[in-house]
């Protein structure tokens, strides 16, 4: 079963880290990515540019409209994702728990619809 680990966190949390903390956090992500890869669980993943760079596209009224930003009122923004292959939900949750992003905010775990 494939699961999406969506990493949510406060955008400004990164900005508040000292350089040494930021370096260590990045190291933790790298180690985590390696662990996933070595366990044969990693399918893909990426960091996302900050929320401010986002655009929203809507075809709601039949016209294409591109709006700057999703204008999230919530503090936590999607910062990145991992797509993993796990036996079951319990395993996916275990991986989510190990993700360094869990310490910065939270990880949403969503199973994919098999196609």
């Amino acid at each position: 079963m494939q699961y999406m680990l969506l990493i949510y966190g406060a955008e400004d949390r990164w900005a508040q880290l000292t350089p040494a903390q930021a370096g260590e956090a990045m190291g933790a992500f790298r180690t985590y990515t390696e662990d996933l890869r070595n366990a044969g669980k990693l399918i893909g993943g990426h960091q996302l540019q900050p929320e401010a760079s986002a655009k929203s596209v809507s075809l709601l009224d039949g016209k294409r409209r591109v709006i700057d930003g999703p204008y999230v009122e919530i503090k936590e923004a999607l910062g990145g994702y991992y797509l993993i292959d796990a036996e079951n939900e319990a395993e996916a949750l275990q991986w989510a728990e190990k993700c360094p992003g869990a310490r910065f905010g939270g990880i949403e775990v969503r199973p994919l619809v098999p196609m």
Partner: protein, 408 residues
Amino acid sequence: MNEARLTERVARESYGRLLALLAARTRDVSAAEDALADAFAAALVTWPRSGAPKNPEAWLFAAAKRKLIDAARRAKTAAQGEAELVRGIEEIEAEMRAGVAPDHRLGLMFACTHPAIEESVRTPLMLQAVLGLSAERIAAAFLVEPSAMSQRLVRAKKKVRDVGASFDVPPPEEWAARMSAVLDAIYAAYGVGWSDPLGSDPERRGLAEEAIWLGRVLAQQAPAEAEALGLLALMLHLEARKPARRDAAGGYVPLDEQDVALWRRAELEEAERTLHAASWLKRVGRYQLEAAIQSAHATRIFGGATDWGAIVTLYEALAALTNSPVAHLNAVAALARRDGAEIARRALDALSQEHVVLCGYQPYWALRADLCARLGDAKAARAAYDEAIARESDPAVRAFLEVRQRGV
């Protein structure tokens, strides 16, 4: 350029400086990359959100410090004590904070183009070491598998370490040859993706911007090197015309027919200033001549006609300097504009006998076709277009040649 791109640029600029500084001490590019990888990744995530720090190098150094100490610990010799090692790192850190750390990027560029490094990997190596581009990004531009590019880069870095490639600037007797290797490697980066000026294939994004960036670093580090300025001027001239090189439908537009209103004025003017500065150094070379040729074409933007006389002279000088058949060919093309098709065709006949390799070269046939058509020799023109079309891989240029052929 948006905020995210700007901060990325600052991050890459500081990364290159820091990497050069570390690698110059150890000659080990891979170890320096490993030590800086997390700090660089953290900068790419953090800075777009917080803004680039006031002293980016000091920030990166602080983020990498623990790794640097670990790396130094692994590499330390029996003679070095722990305290000495930490002191060494703290010295660099203090220099960073005070903004007085030396910039070794020129040395790094020389190391990347060391004669022991295979020519085809010099450009990728420089892009990775100086600008911190990933192997994936470089592989995509060079149309090779990421894993293959990775392996090549790893081997090249090992070679740099094994041959002890010096990060010092070369002695005077080697200077010219080593500098020309650096220039060629940068220009090769500019050429990647040239046939896709619209960047319509995102997987194949060219490296023009990155090449100009390297050119700027070089020009800034070696300001008395006329050819470094010449190369920068050349790339800026070509880049200024990029928006005009294809029409709205993606069709090829030859230089003569380009809409000068589409040329980017800021880049063009910077190119002119840079070339002017180069001319003060009074050491002419291949790149300055090529830039001067572009400059002669650029006069159109200021309302003037192209000075074909000057272009012929410049191409002849370039041909005399390099003995490149392509330079000779271009001289003939300019001659056609100055003295007419009749004289040019005679020159072309003579040239093709002297340089038989030209018969495998698309622009030779395109020029021949054009000259024959202008002289009313339709049959020869159509046949030459056939030869040109068969030798062209860029679909936009091929389509252009086919239209010309039908017009004969």
